[in-house]
């Protein structure tokens, strides 16, 4: 029994078994909460910036200027068992529980700078680790818009100065 207990104690000490508790927080949810107070057809982009602060993502989509405010918070608990001997290795993810909380506000402004639509939503991930927010249209649109902006920035890196000097219509 003692031998078995010692062997079991050695497993975690050697790094074969680990229990990990992680938390990651990005941004503050305050602007997202305040976005609920804005009025479509009345609030302007100027007022929105004064009230909510700078957006996390801003871009032009078709005939609207779209702004996002985002806050993200995740917690995870994982139990991992791994074993390595010469060329052989084995890794098993025994337990994984946790949650992800994504708070997102999306505001669309018209050419005159007045708020057309405001969508404010809280998303929570499923216990199984599947991110349900991805199935929601607003969240998936946000991810698409973010990817689009990342590409725009990469493409603009080389010719930004040229674009700035270009005369406007």
């Amino acid at each position: 029994m003692r031998v078995l207990a010692s062997a079991l104690l050695l497993l975690p000490a050697s790094g074969c078994v680990s229990l990990r508790y992680d938390r990651a927080r990005v941004g503050t949810p305050r602007p997202v909460v305040d976005a609920r107070l804005l009025q479509s057809g009345k609030t302007t982009l100027k007022e929105a910036l004064e009230r909510l602060g700078p957006p996390d993502l801003l871009l032009r989509v078709g005939h609207v200027d779209r702004a996002y405010w985002v806050a993200w918070d995740s917690t995870n608990l994982k139990l991992d068992v791994s074993f390595t001997l010469r060329q052989f290795s084995w890794d098993a993810f025994i337990l994984g529980v946790g949650s992800e909380d994504l708070r997102l506000a999306r505001l669309d402004f018209g050419r005159d700078g007045v708020l057309l639509t405001a969508q404010v939503t809280d998303f929570e991930s499923a216990r199984e680790g599947e991110y349900v927010a991805i199935h929601n249209r607003i969240a998936s649109t946000f991810l698409e818009d973010r990817d689009r902006m990342l590409k725009v920035v990469e493409e603009d890196d080389d010719d930004e100065d040229v674009e700035l000097d270009r005369p406007r219509n």
Binding site: P12, A13, S18, A24, G53
Partner: protein, 123 residues
């Protein structure tokens, strides 16, 4: 004593770390306070805040976006049980400039210093 050893051993061999990652902030709240809607020009914004991190072309204007982040990490390793927490907060300024090169809107947030160390369960 033998019973206490397995409990005490992880505490003796435990490790922890604190990490801080930040990028340079070339501007402060005083500079932002000098920006006046309807008065300040694009040239003055560039002089006050420097080049923006990102320029976004909107329908009738341009957005100059400045941001600076601080990420604080806390890790505790008790051999069997490991904890890790990251908190990332931002300072950011967005300046909207119209086709006449005049500022029409400003939004700012100075939250980067609010990033904190702590355990995963702490807010």
């Amino acid at each position: 004593m033998r019973t206490a050893l397995p409990v005490l051993l992880p505490l003796v061999l435990a490790g922890c770390f604190f990490g801080k990652t930040k990028d340079q902030r070339p501007w402060g709240e005083e500079e932002v306070a000098r920006i006046q809607v309807g008065k300040t020009t694009k040239a003055e914004v560039l002089r006050l805040l420097g080049p923006p991190k990102q320029i976004v072309r909107l329908l009738e204007s341009e957005a100059y976006m400045y941001s600076h982040s601080i990420q604080k990490e806390t890790g505790t390793y008790l051999i069997v049980f490991n904890m890790h927490r990251t908190d990332t907060q931002y300072d950011a300024i967005t300046v909207i400039i119209n086709r006449q090169d005049v500022v029409t809107a400003v939004g700012h947030r100075f939250d980067a210093e609010k990033a904190g160390y702590g355990f995963p369960w702490q807010d």
